[in-house]
């Protein structure tokens, strides 16, 4: 995965916040940001609807909105610039085996919104207990807002082609392979895109 964001983490690895242990996904954040983000994420993690929260660099919540089971909306002009957007992913989608997808990473719309708005970073707390983080490098996101859509589309196509090949070549029940592809898809897209653009992408399992 990509490099680390600059700045010192305010809390040591393994210390506790309101939304679980502090770890890789909190690197580079201030104490105030960590306290606020983990508190907000702890409050929304178990919900069966999405909630978006934007936190500024002092830890103030500057925007909060509830959505529904598979989406949440934010207005164009929401205070994304230089702030951190976090939201929860309920286990709303089901994979090809009918299992809830409880640990899905950033979707294309998530990524386009946060880079397009020049946010400092974005996070997800999933219902299954995985936290995801993407962080803007000191040099910026590495792509202009007008070109991020094409970059994301390229990463999606590459991952889709690889996973489709995997499913098609799978010997046995295709729904088993498709289920794995479903569960992995967004994580692999983020992994690929973070390498291409040079931003930090991390995930960690919390209790």
């Amino acid at each position: 995965m990509g490099g680390r964001a600059g700045g010192g983490a305010g809390m040591g690895r393994g210390s506790r916040g309101g939304g679980g242990a502090v770890g890789a996904t909190e690197r580079g954040l201030s104490k105030q940001e960590i306290k606020s983000l983990l508190s907000e994420e702890g409050a929304i993690r178990g919900n069966d609807f999405e909630t978006a929260v934007i936190v500024d660099n002092k830890g103030n919540v500057v925007f909060k909105k509830k959505g529904d089971k598979t989406s949440v909306t934010i207005p164009y002009g929401a205070p994304l610039k230089d702030n951190i957007l976090t939201h929860n992913h309920p286990a709303a989608y089901k994979d090809a085996k009918g299992r809830p997808m409880a640990n899905t990473s950033f979707s294309d719309k998530d990524i386009i919104t946060v880079i397009g708005g020049n946010a400092k970073g974005m996070r997800i707390i999933s219902q299954g207990g995985t936290r995801f983080s993407m962080t803007r490098p000191a040099s910026g996101w590495g792509v202009s807002p007008s070109k991020i859509g094409a970059k994301v589309a390229g990463a999606k196509k590459s991952v889709y082609n690889a996973l489709t090949k995997y499913v098609q070549n799978y010997k046995g029940d295709k729904s088993v392979a498709a289920g794995r592809a479903d569960q992995l898809y967004w994580h692999l897209v983020s992994k690929k895109l973070s390498k291409t653009l040079g931003y930090s992408y991390t995930k960690q399992k919390i209790k």
Binding site: E50, A52, G67, T70, S71, V72, T73, I74, P75, Y76, A78, H87, H89, Y93, K94, D95, A96, M101, T104, S107, D108, K109, D110, T113, A153, K156, K157, Y160, L163, T164, V167, Q168, K174, S175, A177, A178, G179, A181, D182, Q183, Y185, W186
Partner: protein, 57 residues
């Protein structure tokens, strides 16, 4: 299926024919929200299983 839905599916790389009626209705609601000036995070077409639904059969 209306033109907006087909365009959205094409942009997301999703075959519109795999959508259930519930997913189509949900997508219509999302398109309306976008027309009202809102950015939709996630949503129906962010469901990865839509991409591999045909391969799974």
């Amino acid at each position: 299926m209306n033109e907006d839905i087909i365009k959205k599916c094409q942009a997301a790389g999703v075959d519109p024919s795999v959508l259930t009626n519930d997913e189509i209705e949900e997508l219509k609601r999302e398109i309306e929200k976008e027309k009202q000036g809102l950015q939709v995070l996630d949503g129906v077409l962010s469901n990865p299983s839509l991409l591999f639904r045909k391969e799974a059969q």
